[in-house]
């Protein structure tokens, strides 16, 4: 059994109530929570601030 399979089996036992897609569901939910946490700490505004200006380096001028 490789490392990935071991972790999957271990996690599967712990998260059996979530069904056979436990890893996908927990990962997805973790992503959504992280996204919400990021918005909560003002990262939406930070991205808005960055993306609202022409990135000179990105267009090859910087």
């Amino acid at each position: 059994m490789d490392g990935f399979a071991f972790c999957k089996t271990l996690g599967g036992l712990a998260l059996r109530p979530l069904g056979n897609r436990w890893l996908a569901w927990t990962g997805f939910m973790a992503g959504v929570l992280l996204m919400a946490a990021g918005i909560g700490r003002g990262e939406f505004i930070a991205v808005l601030h960055k993306a609202s200006r022409i990135c000179l380096e990105c267009i090859g001028i910087g």
């Binding site: 069904g19 056979n20 897609r21 996908a24 990962g27 996204m35 990262e43 267009i59 001028i61």
Partner: protein, 288 residues
């Protein structure tokens, strides 16, 4: 030789790709005035590569945002990272195959024989190296007090095509500041443009860090391709139609799979399905 016709799933996918292109780049006044949109939608990251310095772009590119926040504020954005994680766990590289405008651009340019070109493993590994550097280099590569968004600055051909060329051609003050960096970026774009007709989605398969990231989730994503071993006769039709050379019979959720789903349509025995499960319920399977 088995071919998937332009109808059915292929036509739906192409329609969705064009819809994504026009929705993500719906700020038409920006093209006319060669300015960029700066309204509230720009804070929203799309789950695919779409340069926010493109005059028509309505939303932000996750890679550009991630790198620029890392480079300038030393923030590993949990908002952008969480969005990428949620997208990856939801459907893996489905976003590459169905939404990415640069992927669509490459598909349009590809000649029919490009679909049968197989790439060596070493070449395909480059994108994982770039993925690691996307996170590491903006922090450690410091130039004049701020980090460098290295992928956007030195490689991203989507940014050169969507933002760089349009703005440099449209704005005299940018034209006056063109230097070696712009020449380098145009050379990178030209290299990929030269390869696109002959190698299907050459950038996605060799150098896209976002595709590399989503590919890591193909195996474990909520929506994934299921192979019914009872129905599969091992005829190899799926492998023949796969445009990116995935060994579908061995691993239908290979990290290289862009989830175009042509294999699910082509399988004569209906052994391949794109399926998802709901918590605590039986699997819901979608057949084409």
């Amino acid at each position: 030789m088995v071919r998937v016709g332009p109808g059915g799933l292929g036509r739906i996918r192409r329609t969705v790709q064009f819809a994504a292109l026009f929705v993500a780049n719906a700020y038409w006044p920006g093209l006319a005035r060669t300015t960029i949109y700066s309204g509230p939608a720009k804070g929203v990251c799309v789950p695919f590569l779409n340069c926010y310095s493109c005059p028509a772009a309505l939303f932000a590119c996750p890679l550009g945002s991630l790198q620029n926040l890392l480079a300038t504020a030393r923030i590993l954005s949990v908002y952008v990272g969480g969005m990428m994680l949620a997208a990856g766990f939801a459907a893996g590289r489905l976003f590459c195959g169905w939404l990415c405008p640069f992927g669509l651009f490459q598909e349009v340019l590809a000649l029919p024989r490009a679909r049968h070109v197989r790439l060596p493993r070493l070449v395909r590994t480059v994108k994982y190296v770039l993925l690691a550097l996307v996170v590491v280099l903006p922090v450690v590569w410091v130039s004049s007090g701020a980090g460098v968004p290295f992928f956007c600055k030195f490689i991203c051909p989507a940014g050169t095509l969507e933002g760089g060329l349009v703005l440099v051609l449209g704005r005299p003050e940018f034209r006056a500041n063109v230097g070696w960096l712009f020449v380098w970026k145009v050379a990178v774009l030209a290299l990929f443009l030269a390869l696109m007709p002959f190698v299907y989605r050459v950038f996605c398969r060799t150098a896209c860090p976002l595709g590399a990231f989503y590919g890591l989730f193909n195996r474990v994503s909520l929506w994934r391709i299921e192979r019914d071993t009872g129905r599969c006769k091992g005829c190899g039709t799926c492998v023949e139609v796969c445009p990116v050379g995935v060994p579908v019979t061995e691993n239908p959720n290979h990290p290289e799979c862009i989830r175009c789903l042509e294999c699910t349509k082509a399988c004569p025995y209906g052994a391949l399905v794109f399926a998802m499960a709901e918590v605590g319920k039986q699997e819901v399977k979608l057949r084409n």
